[in-house]
Symmetry: C2
Subunit: 87 residues, 2 copies
Amino acid sequence: MNVLKVAATSNPKLVAGAIAASIRSDDSKVEIQAIGAGAVNQVAKSIAITNGYLAPTGIFINTTIAFDEVNIDGDTRTSIKFIVEKK
Amino acid sequence: MNVLKVAATSNPKLVAGAIAASIRSDDSKVEIQAIGAGAVNQVAKSIAITNGYLAPTGIFINTTIAFDEVNIDGDTRTSIKFIVEKK
């Protein structure tokens, strides 16, 4: 499964394009990682925008939200993992 | 459908309890509103925690994430709406 890492500075429209491309691919699902409130907010906006990219072609999406742990420079950080897949 | 309003100061465990109660109810779905990155982050954490409350009883959840507009003291603000329902 494709994994996208989103930061507080990520552009939600570009992230939405990447999510939509993954959903349209054979994989038809994608995982998005975010650490911190700013990044989580960008992911939420990106997923909201993705609906508008996919819905006109009859594709609707569901998201599963869960905690994850990510290793950054030897430190373990708690991240939020969004798994987006076709409804 | 039950609507929960979550703020940056909301306790994710308490919000998760309210989400789980709504999912277990006859309604079996709930809408959660958040304005701003801090609030959106608390909602994401709350939904992640809700998985742990419901999964042991064989209930799994999906989330739909979308934009919404909320009127606060006469001002229109863009909010993020999370609709959580049984898988």
